[in-house]
């Protein structure tokens, strides 16, 4: 697996461009990750990031209150389900209607080296973040060399 790294620049603008370029590059690659994701184009869209401790799944679900989302793991499958309700005030007529509403459900297959039992989720500004740590055995470990 090739790893792409964000530049360490502190400039937010070039950081943004850099990120976008990295995303585009990844986007064009054939998916060969330890993550089985099916259903590109199904709501909600997911982005998956990795760091040394595990994976971070970020899902854009604006307008969905945290109590309307359920996250379930069963074996190696992680399922995100919920409902997005966009109800207008009564007695109104729509001029423009671009935001979809309805129920959604999406499953991801987790890699073997992850530990779904220690997964944590948070929701902020319409983005759901699920952090799935690597299992202890899969973490890199340094082995001390003893002098003979």
């Amino acid at each position: 697996m090739t790893l792409y790294r964000f530049s360490q620049t502190r400039d937010p603008v070039s950081g943004l461009l850099e990120l976008q370029r990295e995303l585009d590059r990844v986007f064009e690659r054939s998916p060969d990750f330890g993550f089985g994701v099916s259903g590109r184009g199904v709501f909600p869209p997911v982005n998956i990031f990795g760091d040394k401790d595990g994976y971070v799944v970020r899902v854009e679900i604006p307008g969905v209150a945290p109590d309307q989302v359920t996250i379930e793991t069963q074996g190696r499958t992680l399922t995100i389900a919920g409902k997005r309700d966009v109800s207008p005030p009564s007695g109104g007529g729509f001029h423009r209607r671009e935001r979809g509403s309805g129920e959604f459900s999406r499953s991801l297959q987790l890699a073997d080296d992850l530990d779904p039992s220690r997964a944590e989720a948070s929701y902020q500004l319409g983005i759901l973040t699920i952090r799935i740590p690597k299992s202890e055995e899969a973490k890199p470990r340094q082995i001390a060399v003893k002098a003979a």
């Binding site: 976008q20 945290p66 001029h95 423009r96 319409g126 983005i127």
Partner: protein
């Protein structure tokens, strides 16, 4: 039909305009609804915090600009991506019948809600008909 499957709408980049800020800007999905008293607008802007959101009405143009913080992406390497991350921007031409002083905006769960109350003269009025 009781349930409806939601489809992803891919984010569209803002086009045909000069940007005042560098970086990518996406067009947020909006709903616009009219009630007898007001116009309501909702825009999906996930990742935008209150302090980095600007809603402005000038010369009859309502502009919405939201900046997305990339701080949370520090030290993360993309593995698989389906949506782009960038700022949001959109402009609307608003009729002059809006009471500009009374516009209210609220942000909740990544959705911006803007209420544009109609000026008194633009509200529908019922006129009593008196008998001869």
């Amino acid at each position: 039909m009781t349930t409806q499957e939601l489809n992803v709408k891919h984010k569209q980049e803002v086009s045909g305009a000069e940007h005042t800020r560098p970086g990518r800007a996406y067009v947020p999905d909006v709903d616009i609804c009219e009630t007898p008293d007001s116009l309501w607008l909702w825009a999906d802007m996930p990742g935008v915090a209150e302090e980095s959101l600007e809603v402005k009405l000038a010369d009859g143009v309502l502009s919405i600009d939201g900046q997305v913080s990339l701080k949370e992406y520090d030290n993360l390497t993309p593995v698989y991506t389906e949506y782009g991350i960038g700022n949001y921007a959109r402009r609307f031409t608003v009729s002059s019948d809006i009471d500009a002083d009374q516009i209210k905006a609220r942000l909740a769960n990544g959705v911006l809600e803007v209420e544009l109350p109609k000026a008194a003269r633009a509200k529908p009025r019922r006129i009593a008909v008196s008998g001869a």
